[in-house]
């Protein structure tokens, strides 16, 4: 099941996302958390220490390509996770998208 949790900054969506991810992991689900916020803070809520957050790999810009049908992934989720996901508390895997520049200009 895929869940998107959206909201404005400060509304608490990251606390909810991270806490939900870990609670579901504790109940035996394989959980992948994706931080798609331009200002990524999900790692902290997942219990990944501040020092580790600084070294987290960010996703490459060519992850999705734009076609006439819209955006299309260039790699499978498994491929991306293998190279870019980090594991935090309760076994939750985290992918940080973080777009320091606009990713759709390529």
């Amino acid at each position: 099941m895929n869940v998107a949790i959206v909201g404005k900054g400060g509304c608490g969506k990251t606390s909810i996302s991270g806490t939900m991810a870990r609670l579901l992991a504790r109940r035996g689900h394989a959980v992948l958390a994706i931080d798609g916020d331009p200002n990524p803070n999900l790692a902290l809520t997942l219990g990944i220490p501040v020092e580790r957050i600084e070294t987290l790999p960010t996703l490459p810009r060519d992850l999705v390509e734009r076609t006439n049908q819209g955006f299309r992934p260039t790699r499978t989720l498994e491929e991306v996770c293998a190279s870019h996901a980090v594991e935090g508390a309760d076994g939750v895997r985290l992918l940080v998208m973080a777009y320091p520049r606009r990713a759709d200009t390529g």
């Binding site: 099941m1 998107a4 509304c11 909810i16 806490t19 999900l42 499978t76």
Partner: protein
């Protein structure tokens, strides 16, 4: 991208701009939860985000009211007026800002705090074979 396995869960934490909605299209979200706070401007923002989600083709869009003290009725009334579902209500909880100051995850800081318990309930409902009915009214009908 393929969905996670049957018991796998993928959670995307994101801003709700059109651009972000296009990006998260790659994971094909089964549910879109729009987190709002219980005051008018935030509810209005949430309504617009929910509408955006519906316009992007998501069928299962619902509000999650966060930091709620005694505004349950206000939130539900707003949702009813605009044909929105409320997937969950998370109470205001001092433990969350406290956990942030301690640079700790809410769950590590206090795993039995009211907000954590409410998030747990919401998570249960989501995965409990009710992915098509996250809201109390059985799925979102976002007003046009």
């Amino acid at each position: 991208m393929a969905s996670e396995a049957e018991d796998g869960v993928c959670i995307v934490d994101t801003d709700a701009t059109v651009e972000q909605f296009l990006r998260i299209a790659v994971i094909r979200a089964d549910a879109v939860l729009v987190v709002v706070e219980p005051y008018f401007k935030s509810l209005e923002t949430g309504r617009r985000m929910a509408r955006l989600g519906t316009l992007q083709g998501y069928e299962n869009v619902a509000l999650v009211a966060n930091k709620v003290r005694d505004e349950h009725d206000t939130v539900h009334e707003f949702a009813r007026q605009h044909g929105l579902d409320v997937a969950g209500v998370i109470p205001f909880d001092d433990r969350l800002p406290q956990s942030e100051w301690a640079q700790s995850a809410p769950l590590d800081f206090d795993s039995r705090s009211p907000a954590v318990m409410a998030i747990d309930e919401l998570a249960q409902r989501l995965v409990d074979g009710r992915a098509n009915a996250v809201g109390e009214n059985g799925g979102a009908q976002v007003g046009s």
